[in-house]
Structures are given as C-alpha cells and as structure tokens.
Amino acid sequence: MPFIPHTEADVRAMLATIGVTDLDALFAEIPAGLERGGADTLPSPLNEMALRRLMTERAAREGSTLCFVGAGAYAHHIPAAVWEIATRGEFYSAYTPYQAEASQGTLQTLYEYQTMIAALTGMEASNASLYDGASALGEAILMAVRAHPDGARRVLLPTTVHPRYRAVARTLTRAQGIELVELPFTAGGGHIDPQTPHAQATEAVAAVVIQHPNFFGTLEEVDALTDWAHARGALVIAVVNPATLGVLVPPGDWGEKGADIACGDGQPLGIPLAGGGPYFGFLCCKTPLLRQMPGRIVGRTTDREGKEGFVLTLQAREQHIRRARATSNICSNQGLMTIAATIHMALLGPEGLRRVGLACHANLVRLLARLATIPGVRVLFDRPRFHEAVLLLPRPVTEVVTILAREGIAAGYPLATDYPALGEALLVCTTERHGAQEIDHFAAQLHKALGV
C-alpha cells in the first residue's frame, strides 16, 4: 500500500491488541448510512514513475522561455544553494516549532530572517511571515486600524497600489467596517500627488498605504506622503518590493519619522515564480505596534544553562491562546519560504542585493531605449521609475500578447482590466536575468508583432 507500511501480519496483531476483528469495526461510531466513500471516482494509483512521466509532459507544456511580466512576481536569479538547503528534510518536513528545543534550526533561521527583513525595510520588528504580499497588506490595514488610538476606520489606498493587493485587502477587511478610500494617480506621473491626500483629509484617517515603487514602477514622493500622513495622525503602511531595498531608501527612513508598518511579498528574495505560489508575505513594524502584530514571532532567549536559544514568543496575540480576540486567525504561515529567503539574503549580502537592484533597473533603461525606436510605442508617465514601466502600444494589447506568447515570450501584464482608462497599456518589467540579447530579441519580436 503506497506510504502505508503495514504488513498483513501487522494488521492482524494490531486489531487483536485493540480487540476488534476488522478495520471497519474501528469506524463503528459513525452513524449508519453516513459512510459512503467519495474516493471511488478517483483514478487508480500511479506509481512514481508514471506520475513523473505525466507531470513531465505537463510541465513541458508551460511555454514561457522569456518573461517580461513583473506586476508583483519577479524572475530573479536564485543561487542553487538556496533550495538545496531549504529542502533538506529537517527544514522541509518539520512542523511549526512548538517544541523549541527540538526545533532550533527552524527557530534560529526565522530569527535571522526577522533580523534581515527588518534591516532591509528599516523597521524594528518583524513577524515570521504571512501568506503573501496581498494578504500581508490586508493584515497591515487591520493592524493599523486596531492600533489607531482614535478608533478611525478610514484607510487611504492609492490606485497606484497593486490592484490585486487592493482586492485582497477589500476581501479581508470588509467585515470589519473599514473604509478603504482609493486615491487617484496623476495622469502625467502615474503617482500620487503629494498634494492630493489633502482633499481626502476631511475625516480622521487611520492609515495611508504607499506602494513604492508603485504598481506602474513609478517612484512615489514617499517623504512628503509619509510626513503628510503623520501630520494627520495617520499611520503609514509601506508596500515595498524587498529586492529594491538594496538601492532605495527603506520605508523606515521615509520622511521625518519613517513608515510605521512595512509589508510586501518576499517572492523576489529567492522564491521561484512557480505559477503564483507559494510565496510569502512579510510584515514589519516599529516597536510600539509590536503587540498588534499578527502571526508567529520568534524571540531569542536562554536555556537553563544560560545558553542562547530561540522560541516562539508573544503567543498571547495568537489564535491558539487568545481565540476570538487574537490579532489574526493565521496559524500555518509560509515558513519554508522564509527559510529559503534567509539563505538567499545571506548569499547575496548587502552588496549583492544592491547590484541586483541596479542591474534590474539598468536592464529596464536598455529595454526602453530599444523600444523607443519602434514607431508608435510610447512609454507612459514621466516620473523616475524602477525596473517596471507602462508601454502604450499602437495595436490592441491582447493581440500583441497572444502573438508574442506563440514565440515563447510573456510580453507583460495588460492593464486594460484594472485600468481601462489607460488604453492599450502593457506593464513590462526587467530583472537582472535579462541579457542584452534577450532584451533585443523581445524588442525585435514586439516590433514584428506590431507590424509597423
């Protein structure tokens, strides 16, 4: 029996010990008529060999050989060492580290993770992960509203924040009577005008969300926005891409006092694209907000002999202790992903991460320069940007994307659904993985697809 080690002799002896004659007897408490199975319609078993053949065929059907889509998930180089270590059985097949003394590997790694991600974002504390960037934003909003002294329940959510993050935030906060107010972006810059928030400041605001670089790749005036929010008594929630933070000012340093909460998706830190997940959400904050933090937190302590060790801590915030009054319902998080990200960050170091950022951006500059030569292609927004940009195409975007898909190119993320007003707009992205040749190839294929 696959994965069940019992021999017939085992089963006989075990039933005898229990004092029953067959397996069915173990289910005698289930009311008659309720037992019906449900697995009968499932296919019969494959062995691993056959499974591998099947799945290899399917994996071979996934056709992207060249990917210029970003929009929240990024194709970065991942050192081979990262997953070689992260998938070691001791990490891969352990549970949440309840028994700390038998889980120091996971715990210390998570403590190091917290340190690294807090350092990257310029914050003072971090939890040990949430599901993804979007749900982390949802939790950040709930946290800010809980923490806000005046009980304000309005949160400003610019439309330059990833549309799907906004959607998830809506799903997660809907039942809490939180009002999410969307701020429009400037037509010219694709960013939030630091003046605009004033117009929204008629009522008490619990928090202002700032994504930077924003969904379009545009850099926001984070200092001015942060100071404005703080002046209004609102907390600032930063949504950031950690792979940019080797180069860009961290949220903790925005404006006079810095953002209060920083969140985002950790995928760019060593997690493969993998069709959308598993990734992980990170959530960092300044110390005063600590007890409002959702999720697991690891702390350093000592053992009975004074030796350094690590434990899950501040558990009084969590569902298994505080139940209905917990800071969140989260239980399982994305542990293994943070372990991989920790190894990734350790291998890159500050200089590696800085170079990744610079290379990503340099490749975008190269790409835009190449595209500038294609008649009819226009780059939208004239603000400083970082490794993503919006193109306006002279032919319907869906057609162009389909044509390029046939060539194995994932051309970008079409903006029509989320931003219909922008017209035939395509969000493109480069990372350090794009070679000059690939950029040229993309430009050439795009040129061809446009038929201009």
């Binding site: 080690p5 019969s44 001791e90 309840y98 399982s332």
Partner: protein, 485 residues
C-alpha cells in the same frame, strides 16, 4: 551563533551577483539621489561556503518527519513523498509567471482543475476553490461565504457563529475576523457537542456553526446529522473544519453530513510538507447554495483550454485571498499525492491512520495511562491525560513532552485542547510502523518510571537536545526579535 556574528565587512559572493559592467549604465533614467539608500542594510557578509555551513548545521538542530516520529496531534505529520516534491518542482512549473499568458500555463491549470474536481468528489460538495493558502484562510473563506449568503438574502440579523468549546483557536478567531460574535457550545463528558446547549443557542441570530469532525478531542461527533438539522432548521449554515479529515477521508463525506462549507488542509491529509510552519494550502468547498460565493480565482475548462475565472465572471464571489493563484506548488504536490495513492488509497489513509491511533491508544491504556475518553474509539488521534501523574508525581505533561525529545521522539500536542488538563493529543498517522509505535509506548512507560524514581531527570528535560529547556517567559517579557550588533 547567529550568522551576523560571522559576518565580515566587504566579504561577498561574486558568483551570485549580477555583473554590472554587462548592464548599460543608466544615465537619462538615473534614479534621483534622494530615493537612494545610503546605509547598506544589515545583511550578513559571508562566503557561500559559510552560508551553506551555517544553514546546513542549523537544519541538523531540527526534529522532522524525515528524522523522527512526530506524533503531534491535530497536525497529521505523515511522510511527505519526495516524488511529489520532485514533480512539483519541475523546471516548467517553477518558471511559470502567474500572469503569463494563459497559453503558457496549461500544464499547471489542467492539474489544478483536476485537483478541484477530485477534492469536490472526496468531500461530496458542489464546488471548490483552491485559493486559500492555509486552513485558517480556508476557514476565513468559508465563514465569509456564509456571511455573504445571509447578506445576499437580506438576512442581516445573523451575527453569531457557534463554535464548540473544543474547537481549534482558528475557528473563533476566524469568526471574529469575519465580523461575527462567537458563542461557545460546551461538549459533554463523552466529547460530543452538548445538544441541549446547542438547542438553546441556535436561533435567528445564528449565522452558522463551525465544527471539526472528528473533533480535536479525537472522537467522531456521532450526532452530526442532528446537529446539522438543528442549525439548518434555525436558518444557519454549517462549516466543516477539515483539519481532521485524515480520520475519515474516503469513508465519510462532509457533504453527506450536511455541511455547507468545508476546508481541507492539504498539508495534513494530502501529505504536503509543513516546512517548519508552512506553506500549506486550504482549499474551500461549497454546497450548492454557497457556490456563487467561492473565492476567486476558480478554474474553468473552456474551448481554448483551462483558464482562471475572475471577479467579472464570478460577480458574487467573496473576492480574492491572494494576489495570484494561491499556493500552487503545494496544490501540485497534493495532486501528485492523490494520483500516487489513487482512489482506493485515499480511503486506506483513514483506515490505517485510525488503526494506528486505536492501536497506540490500546497499548497505552494497557500500560496504565489514562485515556481522556475511555468509552470512545480513537479516530486518527486520541487524548491521554497525565492529571494523575501530575498529582502524584509532580510531573507535568510539559515535562513528559520534553523528556520524550531525549528518547528520540517529537512530543505530542500539549498546549491544546484546553478542555483536558495535562493532556497529550497523540496522532501517529498511517505512515508509521507498528514497531515505531511500540517504541513510543516503551518510551512513555520508561519516562513514567523515571518520574517515580528520579523525577528531577524528567523535570530537567530535555538533556540531549542542542539547547536545554528554554526560558519562554523571559523571551516574552523582554522581546529580542532582531539581532543587534
């Protein structure tokens, strides 16, 4: 020693860094200076070898399924087949961008579609969304659907979710997150929901009931059909917390018990890894009436192949739970697992998990341990209570748990359920051998003997782990959460 203490200024790994010379130097599009970071972040500066050595050695400081028996109740720590990992990480799957053109993701989408169908069949429900990224998010989706259902009918008075006192903490926490008031229903001496109390509690304010069956007390809720009828008659809906599905999968379908929403922890019943705390996956299934509210994306089969349905096509959806498609890699592993065990194998999971639990319960009872619900069959797990031992020997469940580590076993769940004092919730799962269970019994017997003869040995445990017993109190009192130079 933390990795930061091994850091040396200026040490770096050129093999892992982009070659900036190969990139055009940004000029026109240079980033204005005030956006640039001036102090580098405190990331370690170590060589590749140092990093590998550090994390390899750290990993060795863990107990895990791959190294130890891990009978952690309510967590279903079974073997995670490496074959499932291998196929889920095939380069084609790993390289797929979630927003790539649909033509590029047909292998993944086909697989997810089939998984959706298989889980629907296994649970006896009407439809499935794979979106939730863990059990708790599945719960959130389910309760949000119940809320949406009542709201759509204009039934706005239903502000209460009933939860048995034995429920897992995520149940009340979820209900609260969904804006409901939580009302606890007691359980009776045999571990079943107290029907009289339930009858008193249900009414026009009842939005729904969340139930785990078998419950977290390790027993099957025998009157589940009566409970369902009661709640339904009062206009409430029923939520099934599928964390304990391992006990009945392939034998009983939550849909047949009368549930309206069901989540499944794929990282339990379907053998995907726990990764030291995740990622998991918590697909959510709906009865006919909750179908419209399922979270997006859903998978559909169309003429041009498979595709993801979004809000435009699912106007009543409770919405999105993640930016993309959920924990795809975990879903692929669960699919692989179901294909490996096949239809008959799915049922065998329950059979042998139950056999192992009942065998272990019988053996421990014979050895003189107190089973919490002695008149009940164990399901996939069971509870013992060390109340007597605590009273007579001054040894707590925590002490025994720590001492088990010395004997080469991870400890059963002890912080939960809160109803039973000095409890151990023991879940062996079907992938352990009889010999391993026998060794575990022998260890518990030996520890009890130690508790009689040299109790300080037990109270001082663990002795053989990389660190001795850790000070939780100090950790919480003065939190040290990030390393400082």
């Amino acid at each position: 020693m933390v990795i930061f203490a091994k850091s040396q200024h200026d040490r770096c790994n050129p093999a892992q860094m982009p070659d900036l010379a190969a990139c055009a130097t940004p000029t026109a599009d240079a980033i204005p200076g005030h956006f640039l970071r001036h102090t580098p972040p405190l990331l370690p500066e170590v060589s590749e070898l140092e990093a590998i050595r550090h994390y390899t050695r750290l990993s060795q400081r863990n107990y895990a399924i791959d190294t130890h028996f891990y009978p952690l109740g309510s967590c279903t720590m079974k073997y995670n087949p490496r074959g499932c990992h291998a196929v889920a990480t095939l380069p084609g799957f790993q390289g797929l961008h979630p927003l790539a053109p649909a033509a590029h993701g047909q292998g993944t989408l086909a697989t997810l579609y089939e998984l959706q169908e298989m889980l629907t069949a296994i649970t006896g429900m009407a439809g499935c969304s794979l979106a939730p990224m863990a059990g708790a998010q599945g719960e959130f989706a389910g309760v949000a659907m119940i809320r949406a259902y009542h709201e759509q009918r204009g039934d706005r008075e239903r502000r209460e979710i009933l939860v048995p006192s034995a429920a897992h903490g995520t149940n009340p926490a979820t209900a609260a997150l969904c804006g409901f008031t939580v009302r606890e229903i007691p359980v009776d001496a045999d571990g079943d929901v107290d029907l009289a109390a339930l009858r008193q509690a249900v009414g026009p304010h009842t939005a729904g009931l969340m139930l785990t069956n078998p419950s977290t007390l390790g027993v099957f809720e025998r009157r589940v059909q009566e409970i369902a009828a009661l709640v339904h008659e009062a206009g409430g809906l029923l939520y099934y917390d599928g964390a304990n599905l391992n006990a009945i999968v392939g034998r009983v379908r939550p849909g047949d018990m009368g549930f309206d929403a069901v989540h499944i922890n794929l990282h339990k019943t379907f053998a995907t890894p726990h990764g030291g705390g995740g990622p998991g996956a918590g697909p959510i299934l709906a009865s006919e009436r909750l179908l419209p509210f399922l979270p997006i994306p859903l998978l559909a089969r169309g003429e041009d192949g498979f595709r993801l349905l979004d809000a435009a096509e699912r106007p009543h959806t409770i919405g999105r739970l993640s930016a993309f498609t959920g924990n795809v890699g975990i879903l692929l592993r669960a699919y692989a697992y179901i294909r490996l065990v096949g239809g008959g194998g799915v049922r065998r999971i329950a059979d042998y998990a139950t056999l192992n639990a009942n065998y272990l319960q019988a053996r421990l009872r014979q050895a003189g341990f107190s089973v919490a619900y002695p008149h009940r069959r164990a399901t996939h797990e069971f509870l013992i209570t060390l109340r007597e031992e605590a009273r007579t020997l001054g040894i707590t469940a925590l002490d025994v748990a720590k001492r088990l580590l010395d004997y080469g076993f991870y400890a059963p769940t002890i912080y939960f359920p809160l109803l039973v004092p000095e409890c151990m919730l023991i879940e062996p799962t079907e992938t352990e051998t009889r010999e391993e269970l026998d060794r575990f019994v022998a260890a518990l017997v030996a520890i009890r003997q130690e508790a009689e003869q040299s109790p300080e040995k037990v109270r001082g445990a663990p002795h053989t782990t990389p660190v001795k017993r850790l000070d939780d109190t100090a950790a919480a009192r003065k939190p040290d959460l990030v390393w400082k130079p």
